[in-house]
Amino acid sequence: MNTILNIEKISLSYHTKQGEIKALNSISFDVSDGEFIAIVGPSGCGKTSILSIIAGLIKPSGGKVLLFGNEIEKPTESIGYMLQKDQLFPWRTIEKNTLLPLEIHGLKKDEDKRKNVELLLKKYGLWEFRKSYPNQLSGGMRQRVALIRTLASSPKLLLLDEPFSALDYQTRLSVCDDVYDIIKREKKTAILVTHDISEAIALADRIIVLTKRPSNILNIHYIDTDKSVSPLKRRESKDFSSWFERLWRELNYEKA
């Protein structure tokens, strides 16, 4: 598999009036095409900061991020960022919401891209709701709309910042399956940040465990569960519980 993303020794410090907080010490890892990576770690360890740096939203204090060999300095349409809440604009219809990235990139008139969004809406059962407003949709469907919006600019890499954390448990499990299915069918590479160990095991090919602040990479695990079944089914496998225990211990040890 080809490496598409290189993270090279990134570090990050926050500056406040009270002083300087070192969030990331030195983080390095590579991401291959089509891979699903999960990043877990104690709360406040700077997981989200890693995504913000990859997205080009904040500059690291040191080190660099290369996407297809080019250094990322500002947000690009090759990267799609999905946030904790769906962040749909309530005054826009579902269709207008999903077209937002094209408007921002000045591609509103690009017929291919528009067709692509149309296709995604049709493929994932949202076409008949295209003229509806977000408040008329369930939480799970809204999250699907948010994912299609993220896919609108045809990004190569998806960054998922706890995208299911605002949902109730039932919805969460099914949306998790749903989102995973769409990401796999669209053949996207994804980096997920989560505090939910079971979610990480159910979804990821590889889990990166961070230490507490200032963060380093504690461990990288290749998750060898059966990838042919859905994330929900994977939760039932025997490997799943042993992985859960292992990671739980690792993180708890780290907290102490």
Partner: protein, 268 residues
């Protein structure tokens, strides 16, 4: 939507209850107004209150009729309406523009904050003499008065609305590579629409305060002028009649804003 005949019995009862509650509220509103007018009229008629001081509904009506016959009611109404609307629109427009500038630049916001606080707390009528010296006695001064009273509230309300824009949505747009102007147009302005409507509602009141206060200070015509004049020559009928007209105009202007709200805000 279901047709009424598809509703369950329970739902029909619920709807009826809602409907009768609405009828009750409306009926009470009318009853209060009618009984107030009736009481006022009767008390005046049987000399329990002095109609010279308190006027009466029939005297108010005949005063308005006389104003129409003398052909200067529309002059007074028109003048005040012009001053109020000019103040309202200019202040709303400029105030929103200033609020955008303050949202745009954090430095500008910090620098101007103490000035805004002082201007907000200052009773604007204190500036009356200065305004008259600068703009002369007349319509211009009155419009300026309406503007300064309305504009500060607009700036503060809209600035707060702009700054309250959801941080997560701003981050979403930034991650798409949106420029500041795109964030402003696509997100900050549309998400402040509700606050803008409430701001318009406040401004209706503010603009009327400004124009009437301006007319108290310096005017030869207008509803505020009629009220001051009526007070000075002890024609309380004129004062009451003008106040009634003022109530109707201010209410109508508010109703128009409420109508605009219904038209603009669809995502309830």
């Amino acid at each position: 939507m279901k047709k009424p005949n598809e509703f369950t019995r329970e739902h029909v009862l619920y709807l009826r209850k809602q409907q009768s509650a609405t009828i009750f509220v409306n009926a009470m509103r009318i009853i209060i107004l009618v009984s107030f007018l009736l009481l006022w009229e009767l008390l005046a008629k049987f000399n329990i209150i002095d109609s010279f001081l308190m006027s009466s509904p029939s005297r108010v009506l005949s005063t308005i009729k006389n104003l129409i016959i003398a052909d200067n009611l529309w002059l007074h109404v028109g003048t005040t309406l012009y001053e109020t609307l000019a103040g309202f629109f200019i202040a709303t427009f400029l105030g929103s523009l200033i609020a955008v500038a303050l949202w745009w630049s954090e430095n500008l916001r910090k620098i101007l904050e103490p000035y805004l606080i002082v201007l907000n707390s200052l009773p604007k009528i204190a500036l009356g003499p200065i305004i008259i010296v600068w703009f002369g006695s007349g319509v211009k001064s009155i419009i300026f008065m309406a503007i300064i009273i309305t504009i500060i509230v607009t700036v503060i309300t809209m600035q707060n609305a702009f700054l309250a824009t959801d941080e997560g949505k701003i981050m979403l747009l930034k991650s798409m590579g949106a420029s500041k102007i795109q964030i402003l147009i696509k997100l900050v302005i549309p998400s402040s629409l509700k606050s803008f409507i409430s701001c318009l509602k406040i401004n209706v009141g503010m603009a009327w305060i400004g124009s009437i206060m301006g007319e108290y200070l310096t005017s030869r015509q207008g509803i505020g002028y009629l009220i001051v004049y009526g007070g000075q020559v002890f024609k309380l009928d004129l004062v009451m009649a003008s106040t009634v007209i003022l109530c109707i105009l201010a209410g109508a202007m508010y109703a128009l804003v409420a109508l605009l709200e219904k038209f603009l805000i669809k995502d309830k």
